[in-house]
């Protein structure tokens, strides 16, 4: 088994269902998620129409993250994993808020 240093956390968007579990479990409250509901393609309209959640934004604030890995452990869909590279320093505090593009 290889050991990945706890340097940063990666979001695998295709696996994320916007279930909010990581955001609720994070002790630092550093994960913020926006999502909306769409009809599932092929599901007939009406009261029984099936829907799915679509991820709009996923922001991880590295200025608060304590690298505890609870979000990774708790994700039922393995949509978060340790990644090897350090998060770069920022010149403004908001620069440590990483969205989907930076968490890939």
């Amino acid at each position: 088994m290889s050991v990945v240093p706890h340097s940063s956390i990666r979001l695998i968007e295709d696996s994320c269902t916007s279930c909010m579990i990581c955001a609720r479990e994070c002790p630092a409250w550093c994960i913020a998620i926006d999502s909306h509901t769409e009809p599932l393609p092929g599901s007939p309209p009406g009261p029984r129409q099936r829907t799915r959640n679509v991820l709009d934004s996923f922001v991880l604030d590295w200025s608060l993250c304590l690298y505890c890995g609870i979000c990774i452990e708790e994700c039922p869909f393995d949509a978060l994993e340790w990644a090897g590279s350090n998060v770069a320093a920022a010149d403004v505090l908001g620069g440590l808020r990483h969205g989907r593009d930076q968490l890939r």
Binding site: T17, M20, W29, I31, S35, V54
Partner: protein, 186 residues
């Protein structure tokens, strides 16, 4: 490491009135390990004070007592274990316990710090000011979900704030601190 390397502590429940006497009687051959406290709110209106003693190279003994949460006082054990004094001062800072015959100077908190921050009904201002990111439901574009969720560790404002009618009971505060759904009372 096998579990029996860490045998369970022997636990003895002690009446507050005999706290010092029991500690003194148990002190022979045992060293002081630590003393701490816990807020029992939700289970009973008490603070639990715990003192752990350890026999040299042997088993640990945990002495526990429940004291009135509204008038928390207990005899200091510093005359038996001088090292317990710092622990008592910490418990005084964080839980508001007065240790009779002990050193009751603040240790970690400044004089004038309002509140006892390790009591479960202590409200952390930072958690009130910041919206909990977990408060949304999946698929909800807006911040407020249909179900009201409160984060773990934060008493619900319905319970701790100024509100009409009777003050919150201990179990209401404790239930709201655990997180999850909030039971509204009228």
């Amino acid at each position: 490491m096998p579990a029996d390397r860490f045998p369970a502590d022997e636990v003895r429940r002690v009446e507050p009135s005999s706290w010092l006497a029991v500690v003194r009687a148990a002190a022979s051959g045992r060293a002081f390990d630590w003393l701490g406290a816990a807020d029992e709110i939700g289970r009973s209106n008490h603070l639990r004070v715990v003192c752990r003693l350890r026999a040299t190279g042997g088993d640990a003994l945990r002495l526990e007592t429940l004291i009135d949460r509204d008038d928390p006082r207990l005899d200091s054990i510093a005359e038996v274990y001088p090292g317990a004094s710092w622990h008592e001062r910490e418990a005084r800072d964080f839980f508001g316990i007065a240790f009779t015959g002990g050193d009751n100077r603040p240790l970690l908190l400044r004089d004038g710090f309002g509140g006892r921050p390790l009591r479960k009904d202590f409200v952390l201002g930072a958690r009130v000011i910041k919206a909990w990111p977990g408060g949304k439901e999946p698929g909800d574009a807006k911040a407020a979900g249909r179900r009201r969720m409160v984060p773990p560790g934060v008493p619900d404002p319905e319970v701790w704030g100024d509100r009409e009618g009777a003050p919150a009971s201990a179990d209401e505060v404790a239930a709201s601190v655990v997180g999850g759904r909030v039971r509204r009372r009228r």
